[in-house]
Amino acid sequence: MSNLNSNIIKICILEMSSQNQAILEFFFNNAGKSLFEETSRENAEVFIIDYDFPGAKENVEEIQSTSKMPGIIISIREVSLENTVWIAKPLTSNALIQAKNQVAEMLSSIADAPASAETTALSGKQQEQQETESDDLPVFNDLSFSVNEDKTDAKATEEQTDPLVGSDLSEETTQEVAAIADTSNPDDSVATETISAETPELFSIQDDPDPEPALTNFASLDKSPEDLQQNKIDTFTVNAETITEKAEVNTKINTATNTNNADTPNYFSVQAEPTPAFTESLTLERTEYNNDLAATQTQTIESNNAGSSEYFSDQTDSNTVLGSSTRFDNAEHNQEHDELAVLEKPEQKTEAKDEIDILIEQLIAGGGESAITETTETAEASIDDSAEELSDTGISPVDLEKNKEKLLSIDALINQNGTEIENVIHSDNSDISKQQNSQADVLATADDSANNPDQEELPQELPQLNDNLTENLDTAEEVKQDFDEPNNSVIAPESDTAEPVVDNKEQESEELLESASTVPETQANADESEPQDEAILTIPEVELSEDEELQTLLEEIRKETEGVNSRGMEGANHRHIPTFAEERWALTCGDSNIIPSKEQTYNPADYMLSTLLRVIEQARQTEKVMRMKFNGIIIVILPDLKKIYCDLSIFSSDYAEICFTPFDQESIKIHNLDSSEIRLYRKLIVEEPENSHTIESFLWTSSLLTSRGRLPQGTNTKKSISLKYWPNLTRLEIIPHVMQIAAVFYKYPDSIQQIPVKLNIERRFVNAFYNGVLTLGLLETDNHKILLLSSKNTIKKTQNRGFFTRLLKKIKT
């Protein structure tokens, strides 16, 4: 059954993160295809599993209890299990190759096990096989293949610094793979951000005789291992310096775009890969990870080339190997999906060299004169500039023209009907982001060039370039705001009754409570109002995943929260058409016109929250995964992960209503789950992050929605209370003044009645906070400690208060 004769091991991928899955599949289909063959679990000889992935440990245990199948275990921490090989994260090709040898030995020993003593020595055939394998190895050992998930692992680092990587490269045997730096680790982001003369290793190549250890690579090999073995392929990386010196075709331009989100790095690299064998390839590669879904698109342009040997001299005497790279952080543009135009078709070999020459010249010029034209004052002109610059960097002007048309048509639409903007807002934002990024890329190219002392002609252009970029970004931002402004119109009913009535408070209150359902309806109506302007219909909408939409909404709430904090009570009391955040606060903190502590209390036992707390406690005590099912909603509590899966968004109005409506205890069904169900929900927690919550965040939001600014029955509002621990506010739904309230409760214990007065904030926010921390069990119960704290600390006005106020305003914006 073993497939040792062919040296190819049949392997199945079990629990695995999307990112590692993509890496492995890429490896199995390219560099590792002579080592492994991916197959189903039933047909596999070996399994590979991400041990850090939920459910993986249980699966490994199950496999080991039922079979002797060897496995490769990927984990951050060392895992020593029988019949398994541990590979430290991040994945590297080298590690996979070594693992292959080890599992091959395991397979061999398993197969030979019945032969007892005879198996102590390898048969001649086996020896031959092993020799064959080891003969194969040096070639593959040279392949550098890794994506950083966590650089903290010592062994992983050792692997990166492994002198074997690249050391076996002879002048004639070289392999290359495109590098992709995963920035999931903060340290990585530092490294990426500080790309400069100090970090040449990021752009060094693997066939460097003295390879730099810090290289973080992702194999992107278009050539088969057989080709590599035949020494047919050399790949070169050329840096900005090389470009400046017009060393022509040996070009590799890495343009990394980091979106500040560790899970969704976008990375683009353009490579020209000339070979001494008169083969030059220009690879335009785009590898994009989005929400752990990795995809690699590679297009290769090959052409004849005879001028690649200069590269070696450049490399050997160069101490300033620089890549043209930029890391453009912009937290507001996480959703962007930039597009790089394909430069040429692969079959147009004869034209490719010219294209490359032009590309290089344009790249040089991209940081200089042609990159930036005169500063413009309008968004339209800014787009024109962007188009010019992008075309200089090789991006199709056609795409830009389309973008420009989109923006112009949107401008027209704003004038015609502001309410319809919502339909295209995501698409436009994305377009703006593209232009901003492209401009930033051009600037960064110039920045990197400026770091290179050899490029003296570029720095003088940098201030202007920088100014232009800043101005264009501002202009683009203004346009974006123009798009955003009509949001209120969208929220307000657009129909005949669209006139906002703000005088009648009762009606307003009703509208506020109903608004959550009104918004989607209005948006749906807006959607149905098509057909619209034809130009609008041509705009490709960038669809946001549920998680992305959720993040966007949460971000809105957060910003609005900070806005209210800044405005104080006056701002909060100034009634107007409710924003999304205000609508949400009506659900989480109650309506501002009601004084809950005087008029309204609630009995927690009547609500779903009490049942939820009971089931969570039961799950914790029994350490069993439990499921609540009621009204078609599923809530699964996974106590070991401290996670909750809920198939209904807790940010939906439906969930808010469930929490706020007295609960029929009879309607609920509670189950302990079996192993297959547990596995399913563990998987769902990973696959549906929008439905996955920490127990703390789930309880926090549920308690806010249940109380809606009311206090539990029997609460003594005059008793001093104190926080034992701060809630983990960076991971909880934010309500206005939450930080301030937490600080007072923590350091200056006082009564619920007094704190709103002292802080001059609305009572409903204090009540909501009290409910949240009460549910999470974060209140101090030791009266002695509370008294001690109360006597020690009183809020005093510090001399820094004015400065702190200004500082807080600054950092909240």
């Binding site: 650089k151 100090e198 992960l641 200004r806 950092i811 909240k812």
Partner: protein, 182 residues
């Protein structure tokens, strides 16, 4: 009415690789000034470069007022810098890396090292990489600081996220003076 020009500083400390430099970078209005050198010791297992003296960033408040952000070097052998940097600081932000072998030991070490400052000043703790590494969790940290008889807010943070780092600073400022209205 003239405003007194204020210049205050906040210190970021914590073990190697906890994200101090990144956190300062997230908040600073100026390109941060770092004294990074290639790591030569055990640090290189975690990152290629490390801070040897300090990191410096700045938040500009208005035209003239500034909040200075200092990051201490992570390695213990640079601890002579710690006292120098913390002198006159508004508060201390301790970043702990959840992926390290023994974060509890790190917590103990740094709270002990800055004991004098913590006794009179305010401390906020940010736990980095807790989104990737689930254990220890925030509850563990809460109990650990309890054991050390320290009272401080503890947040999970991503040092690359400005919002998270901003929350640490906000918590610090509100802890110093909850009466601040902003």
């Amino acid at each position: 009415m003239s405003t007194e020009i204020q210049h205050k500083k906040i210190i970021f400390t914590g073990p190697v690789g906890a994200g101090k430099t990144t956190a300062i970078q997230s908040m600073s209005d100026i390109p941060i000034i770092s004294t990074n050198e290639s790591a030569t010791d055990m640090t290189q297992q975690r990152k290629s470069e490390t801070t040897v003296a300090m990191d410096y960033g700045q938040i500009k408040v208005g035209d003239q007022e500034r909040i200075h952000l200092y990051g201490t070097p992570g390695q213990e052998r640079f601890d002579f810098m710690w006292d120098i940097l913390t002198k006159g600081a508004l508060g201390l932000i301790l970043l702990l890396d959840n992926s390290r072998d023994n974060p509890q030991q790190d917590l103990r070490f740094y709270t002990q090292a800055f004991k004098n400052f913590i006794q009179n000043g305010d401390l906020v703790i940010g736990v980095t990489r807790s989104d990737d590494i689930e254990k220890p969790d925030i509850d563990n940290y809460r109990h650990w600081i309890d054991q050390l008889q320290i009272r401080a807010p503890v947040f999970s943070i991503d040092a690359r996220e400005r919002q998270d780092v901003s929350s640490l600073i906000q918590a610090l400022l509100y802890t110093i003076d909850p009466g601040v209205t902003a």
